[in-house]
């Protein structure tokens, strides 16, 4: 025995089996393992699908911007499809470039910066009050102040016009106008209201991100500084702030990216005074069939979006360096506010009233009042909801009795529902393949390609779809005006959330339960049916529900891709806004808001998680 133990020592004699395998043998062995299970096959199929649904449209719109478009052959003296710098020149350097690109860009940037500053100031204070103080009703505020985020941003834009609309625009006057106080244009439309509304809408971002960073903050770090003699303000400036910086920067960048693609708010509030941002400028180019210029603008929006989110990715990586391990000290230590307790609560309540209560109340009231701002009993009516024989040109019944609403609701349910279902299932599949495939490059490609739409604002993505699918290409017929294009675009647009949900669900599951089943003798299909799908039931439901909610309140994709026959609730209400059926438009928006709000609550309940993790939808 003793001898044996010594001969098994490091230097081993030559053996036939252990001579290094040839490259061909290694390759054959790897291929055999890769193809043993359907994982790789599914991975390849989904990779092809997403290349077609995500990468190709983006390439297509970028190409549009440098190729002669239909109708310009004469002017440019070239054939359709030839390379040209005409559109770049027109968008960036021509006399109309200011209107097409530069002023919208400037407006976008200033609105975004204004919204960011305002929401940072309000948001950080609120986050701190909610997570680290003894303010009254913290728990209630923690949920209540997030509500603006669950509602479509242009809900607030409509509430704003309901209140402040002046005689610059026809139709029903705003409440202030109606009682004789004409608001000036700068209050009613343009930069000021857009900035305020975006700030209020994105403040929850800051509350969620900054708040969760504050809660995770290890109070032992704070205590150590205090023990060494630092005063409260010194602790705040030297310890807490530097550690919070990544969270703050990250929420800034996210808000910026969101503002970049925001369409509804500037459309409703900017149009009357010709206040254009990049997204509305893009919309105008598309509406006036300037596909080449639209390509340039869309590509620019994408580029800015991609740069911004790369900065964010970098910041997140940076933030990981600061992750304080060990949550022992991260209990919810509260600061006593003392005399400031009541004023602080008042501040939170004021923000709630301005950002949630007032807009919603205004909208609700506006749908039951005949003449704006006259609060007498005979002015109230339910006619706009359930009335018949209204004396209007179109829409002669209350909104709930209008077949158009139900058609739009049916379309919404079908289009958004189907797209969410498909993207939820695809998301889980992608998650499975990304985590499990032995082919690493496939895993990386799938992860990145499904994330790509996140970098591209919805309106630019819609433009890309239009560019690719508006005309027949190869075996694909022209899809513009069909339900299919909407569903495809929605699926692609929702893939970032769906695939992220799938990947994180599969990561959390780990490979142990599945490997245990494998050891027990279960092949791939049995493992799927008996182990993976039953365990992932919950994430599958949220993987469908979250895209559904964001799809319901989504506007920018539909506004470009939908036509009257494929009207969904959002475009329907926008059309009502255009035709100045204020009450009806507001009613539809309230319906959307209600669906989005209760859907979010349901999703939270199902996953027992906070919204903070699903941020960004």
């Amino acid at each position: 025995m003793a001898l044996l133990s010594e001969t098994t020592n490091a230097d081993t004699p030559a053996r036939g089996a252990s001579s290094a395998p040839s490259a061909w043998q290694t390759w054959r062995y790897r291929l055999k393992i890769a193809l043993r299970e359907p994982t790789t096959l599914i991975g390849v199929l989904t990779a092809v699908l997403f290349t077609y649904l995500i990468v190709v449209p983006i390439i297509s719109i970028v190409l549009d911007s440098v190729r002669v478009q239909f109708g310009h052959e004469r002017r440019l003296g070239k054939d359709v499809g030839d390379l040209t710098v005409y559109y770049l020149d027109r968008a960036f350097f021509s006399p109309v470039a200011t209107d097409l690109f530069w002023r919208p860009l400037l407006n976008t940037l200033t609105v975004a910066l204004g919204a960011i500053s305002l929401s940072l100031v309000i948001g950080t204070v609120l986050a701190w009050l909610i997570s680290r103080t003894d303010m009254f009703g913290r728990r209630w505020f923690a949920t209540a102040l997030i509500v603006p985020y669950m509602l479509p941003a242009w809900t607030f834009a409509l509430a704003w016009t309901t209140l402040f609309k002046n005689r610059t625009v026809g139709g029903q006057p705003g409440w202030f106008e109606a009682i004789g106080l004409t608001p000036p244009d700068w209050v009613a439309y343009g930069r000021f209201p857009i900035t305020i509304i975006l700030a209020l809408h994105y403040t929850p971002f800051v509350i969620l991100l900054f708040g969760s960073a504050l809660r995770r903050f290890d109070s032992q770090l704070e205590d150590s500084a205090r023990i060494l003699g630092a005063r409260r303000y010194q602790v705040a400036i030297q310890i807490i702030m530097p550690l919070m910086r990544p969270a703050l920067l990250s929420s800034m960048v996210l808000i910026f990216a969101k503002c970049l693609g925001e369409f509804g708010v500037p459309y409703v509030l900017g149009l009357p005074v010709k206040f254009e941002v990049l997204s509305t400028s893009l919309f105008r180019s598309i509406a006036s069939r300037q596909t080449g210029v639209a390509g340039v603008v869309a590509a620019s929006i994408m580029l800015i979006g991609i740069i911004t989110l790369m900065i964010d990715a970098r910041l997140v990586r940076e933030a990981r360096r600061f992750v304080t391990i060990g949550s022992k000290g991260s209990m919810n230590r509260q600061n006593r506010l003392g005399k400031l307790r009541l004023p602080a609560t008042g501040f939170a309540a004021a923000v709630f009233i301005v950002s949630v209560a007032m807009p919603l109340l205004t909208l609700v009231l506006s749908t039951v009042m005949k003449v704006p701002a006259r609060f007498t009993l005979d002015n109230f009516t339910l006619d706009y909801w359930i009335g018949t024989d209204l004396h209007t040109v179109a829409l002669q019944t209350g909104i709930l009795l209008s077949p158009d609403l139900w058609a739009a609701a049916k379309n919404t349910m079908m289009i958004v529902g189907l797209a969410s279902l498909v993207s939820g299932v695809l998301g889980l599949l992608v998650g499975y393949v990304v985590i499990r495939t032995p082919v690493r490059s496939l895993s990386i490609y799938l992860r990145q390609v499904t994330f790509l739409p996140y970098l591209v604002p919805g309106i630019a993505f819609a433009a890309a779809y239009l560019s690719l699918f508006a005309v027949p290409r190869g075996p694909m017929p022209a899809l513009y005006g069909t339900v299919t294009i909407l569903i495809l675009a929605l699926i692609a647009d929702q893939m970032p959330y769906a695939s992220r949900a799938g990947i994180s669900a599969m990561t959390q599951l780990g490979k142990d339960p599945e490997e245990a089943a494998q050891i027990a003798g279960a092949g791939w299909f049995r493992r799927m049916i008996y182990i993976v799908i039953p365990i992932q039931k919950g994430s599958l439901v949220t993987g469908v529900l979250l895209p559904f909610i964001s799809g319901i309140k989504g506007l920018s994709l539909f506004v470009i891709l939908a036509v009257p026959s494929t009207d969904v609730l959002t475009t329907f209400s926008l059309r009502l806004v255009d035709y100045h059926y204020t009450q009806a438009a507001n009613a539809v928006v309230l319906i959307i808001a209600a669906i989005a709000y209760f859907g979010t609550l349901l999703a939270q309940k199902l996953t027992r998680t906070n919204l903070a993790e699903g941020l960004g939808s």
């Binding site: 044996l4 089996a17 062995y29 279960a522 092949g523």
Partner: protein, 377 residues
Amino acid sequence: MPTINLRGAQKNYGVNAANAVADLDLEIRDGEFMCLLGPSGCGKTTTLRMIAGLENLSGGEIQVGERVVDSVQQGIFVPPEKREMGLVFQSYALWPHLTIERNTDFGLRLRNLPKAEREARVERVMQALDISKYRDRYPSQLSGGQQQRVALARMLAVNPGVLLLDEPLSNLDARLRLEMRAELKRLHNEFKTTIVFVTHDQWEAMTLATTIAVMNEGTLQQMGTPNDIYDRPANRFVAEFVGSPPINILTFGKPGISDIADKAETYFSKNYPKLRGIGSIGLRPEAMGYVAKQKSVPEDSFSAEMTVTGVLPTGGSWILELRSKNHTLFLTTHALPRIDSGERVFVHAPPEAMHVFDGQGRRVSEADTVLRKNTYN
């Protein structure tokens, strides 16, 4: 049950990465209780997963009985579900959506056994592991120890020829761990399965295994019985890894670094002039003794005068820390030490307690024949 053979098994993650397992030859015979022992990251878990088929090879082959189940050269890969082995995961990996009974029953259902037989076998293992009272509960409702039993039961139910265990006791508290060790030993006798057990805990390996394979940095350092490993460590790594407090090493050929080592070198050249090329020697703390006077040092023993700098009780035994001018030694004793810090004593070690290694750290077996002539070998 068949013998498992690993021949030149290799695993690396990525082309340029260091080998997680490098050119490993291992034979696991029928009925053996084999422990893969080594520090974390030494490749022991990877080896276990390669045997199970959860990790594919980068080179070499694995044979179970007459059947090659995995070979890069021959392009053979038998998937885990067809290898008929059992594996208990470190995390237990119980299926959270199935009851304890369904967890245990899972493998049997897959084998399409008749209901009556399934029930009988589930009953038998649940009885054997004392978990039948939890049959309708879900894994999250059980404690760590109970979950561990379920994980074992689930694998034993299908009566696998080989049971692989990946640090199954590391998540248990000390008392439960002791109980489960006894349990495992009992199961090994009762079910007559071959067991391959991965651990970084030397006591676990010593108490359970019939054979221990010590691994480091992806290579096999030594394979042998627990006594072999402890009494005849094949190299310095094994000597230093096994044993607590660790073995005292005296490095030769570097005069002035350690006065004790210099003294030992003199001792060797005087008493055993034929032994050349000694790189270092190792002295187990419990193989040494101490006396107050030089004349009480046993004949032939190596001895050195040192100062007691610490007396550390460990409950039932004591660790003495001893210092000379530039060397620190540890010594354990089971008799109450009647000395205090600061006292000077003579530390001594008999020749048969000395482990001799060459310049590369390999055991010099020739030295054993010379030094251990008085003991059974």
